[in-house]
């Protein structure tokens, strides 16, 4: 339990210092041109963001889903350490469910843009 507390303390301190250093040392010189979007240097053709298209949204959703799955791998791997094949089977089941969802999305043509 102790090393967990130390870990949180160190990481919290480190990120705090980094944010603080950035806040202290970063010069502030507001410049109106910096508010405009960067479009390779030429004046933007359109102000504001137009309507967002559905395909972007679907891919973002799918990414979120699978990314969270990967984050779950770490605690699962720790929890099932040393449980041998049983542990691996449990993990495989978890992955299989999500893989089935991914295959279904792929077949439904989430990645076909035209």
């Amino acid at each position: 339990m102790l090393e967990l507390a130390i870990a949180f303390l160190v990481f919290g301190l480190l990120s705090g210092v980094m944010v603080l250093v950035n806040f202290v040392l970063g010069p502030r010189r507001p410049n109106p041109a910096r508010e405009k979007p960067f479009e390779c240097g030429s004046p933007p053709l359109q102000t504001g963001i137009g309507p967002v298209n559905i395909p972007f949204f679907l891919v973002a959703l799918l990414f979120l889903l699978l990314d969270v799955e990967i984050v779950f791998f770490f605690p699962l791997a720790l929890a099932f350490r040393g449980r041998g094949l049983g542990g691996f089977a449990a993990l495989a089941g978890f992955v299989a469910v999500l893989a089935a969802g991914f295959a279904y999305a792929w077949k439904k043509g989430i990645f076909r843009w035209s």
Binding site: F23, V24, L25, G26, P27, R28, R29, N31, A33, R34, K36, F38, C40, G41, S42, P43
Partner: protein, 158 residues
């Protein structure tokens, strides 16, 4: 020298040291000097040995504007926009004779030196400059960064 001054000079020296060895450059490449920039950035002459190897293609993440090649009047506003959109602290290197003074093109189309558009820190002459001259220019900029008055939030504006 009071205690606080000692601290700020040590801080400025550290800031200068940190900033000069992690220059993310924005290659604003247009013309023939771009070929020489490719040789400088690649394995043979390797600009990365001096900490300036990482090219950032967005002005938000770059602190060194490397203007390479001829800047024509049609491109001048683009250069000005990119310079304005860079975050502080920022430096500008004029790479090649066309950026320094318009070079061999003194006519209706070419800006006679980019210091008419953006403030320039280091001028690298040559048409195109040899890669060694470019690295020398980079070292000169690093000296300038180390010994200049560092800019930070509460730095005195004297």
């Amino acid at each position: 020298m009071s205690g606080f001054d000692f601290l700020t000079t040590r801080l400025e020296a550290a800031l200068g040291w940190g900033r000069k060895f992690s220059l993310f450059h924005y290659p604003f490449i247009t013309a023939c000097c771009g070929m020489e920039y490719m040789s400088t950035a690649c394995a043979h002459f390797d600009i990365d040995r001096f900490g300036a190897g990482l090219t950032r293609f967005s002005p938000r993440q770059a602190d060194l504007l490397l203007v390479v090649g001829t800047i024509s009047h049609k491109l001048a506003p683009v250069l000005r926009t990119v310079y304005d959109q860079m975050l502080e602290p920022k430096w500008v290197i004029a790479f090649g004779a066309c950026t320094v003074s318009g070079g061999i093109y003194q006519n209706y189309a070419v800006v006679q030196g980019i210091d008419r558009i953006v403030p320039v820190d280091v001028y690298i002459p040559g048409c195109p400059p040899r890669p060694e001259m470019v690295l020398d220019g980079l070292l000169k900029l690093q000296d300038k960064i180390q010994h200049q008055k560092q800019d930070w939030r509460w730095a005195r504006k004297d």
